[in-house]
Symmetry: C2
Subunit: 225 residues, 2 copies
């Protein structure tokens, strides 16, 4: 059981709480520990965020659907992590992606109503969620300020930073080359030269219609060297 406590206190939004607080929360609120088999769907794009959900063990694969664009993005996140906490409140509290178990995976969840009670009961939870949500808003602004500064790796990096959360792995982009050129503001020949160069630096692999980035954070570091 000790192991479970330690693991819970590693989760974003639950960090910094005392073991005593955690014990009393577990007694008071119905935290659910769910198991999913490889490939099983955890939730779908447009599902309402009725619960705060954490990846407690294993890994989850996210697929970002886009109605208007022909570019799709998918990526994996490992435990410990939160899933889409920025979609719990606001105007449209629905997930913008599908989520699938990647291998066996354990999800910890709590209803939104209970999570709100916890935020209200303890400052640490309040600060955790305020910081978490603010970080998102800030990073976007700061990133967009550097939008014009871009060679192709930096522009790809901007897109990764905006759409894919920290620590994500096996990021896959699927596209028509024309759309990717348009999105990155580059000609086809420059795009191909740049992709080949990034491949040599082990930042990515690519085909005619897809890019695979093994490690989001490594890519961003390399692109901004």
């Amino acid at each position: 059981m000790d192991n479970v406590f330690d693991k819970m206190r590693d989760l974003p939004l639950l960090q910094g709480i005392s073991e005593t607080t955690l014990h009393s929360l577990l007694e008071k609120y119905p935290f659910h520990f769910l198991k999913y088999g490889d490939g099983e769907k955890i939730f779908s794009c447009d599902d309402p965020c009725t619960h705060i959900r954490f990846i407690f063990s294993g890994a989850v694969r996210f697929v970002v659907k886009s109605l208007v664009s022909k570019i799709s993005i998918s990526y994996s996140l490992e435990a410990p992590n939160a899933m889409g906490a920025e979609f719990l409140f606001g105007r449209k509290p629905n997930y913008p992606f599908d989520a699938y178990a990647q291998g066996e995976c354990g999800i910890l969840q709590l209803t939104k109503a209970d999570y709100i009670k916890i935020i209200q009961s303890d400052d640490v939870f309040l600060f955790n969620i305020l910081n978490y949500l603010s970080r998102n808003a800030q990073e976007t602004t700061l990133r967009l300020l550097s939008l014009s500064h871009g060679n192709i790796p930096k522009r790809l990096s901007l897109m990764l930073e905006s759409l894919v959360p920290p620590h994500a792995s096996q990021v896959e982009l699927e596209f028509k080359q024309k759309d990717l050129c348009l999105m990155l503001g580059s000609r086809r020949s420059s795009l191909l030269t740049s992709l080949e160069d990034m491949k040599k630096k082990h930042m990515l692999d690519y085909t005619q219609s897809s890019i695979t980035i093994e490690d989001r954070d490594f890519f961003i570091d390399m692109a901004n060297l």
Copy 2:
């Protein structure tokens, strides 16, 4: 005094509170009402967000500084409005812009510590800030999903939606044409044709090195017709 109460309850983050609650808040916490003369600086880029600040009367001019890019953006916001509430928490609680009074203007402010006490004391304030911060995060994700979908007006619209808050007026972009072409992923000739077309539709005015957009929301509506 009634007028002041009504105006306070129009402010984002203070919406939905009862008059009784507001009365007791005003008695308990030192809300400061400050006056600034035309052109006076309210705060500078990189200043720490020590207070939650509202535009209570008049208008404020924001100038977004960018170290890496050569594109600068400025815009005006009128009362009632919040100023940079998304920079109050998170990893870097500093303003990313300068703010100047545009004409005579009144600012209402409260220390961050007191604002936190208010959030903790009343659910309405808690939900207001959670919704406010989540909305930012959500809009960014949803917007970036449509990034590849862009003609020039839509790309400009994306930039406006990301960098300039709702209801902003007199938005000015300054740039070197080369940088703007790069940022919008377009050739110079297409950019000029598109700018001329948008000018005819009263969406903007432009010179060699600047674009003026009178009304952010009107521009976005027109670009997405």
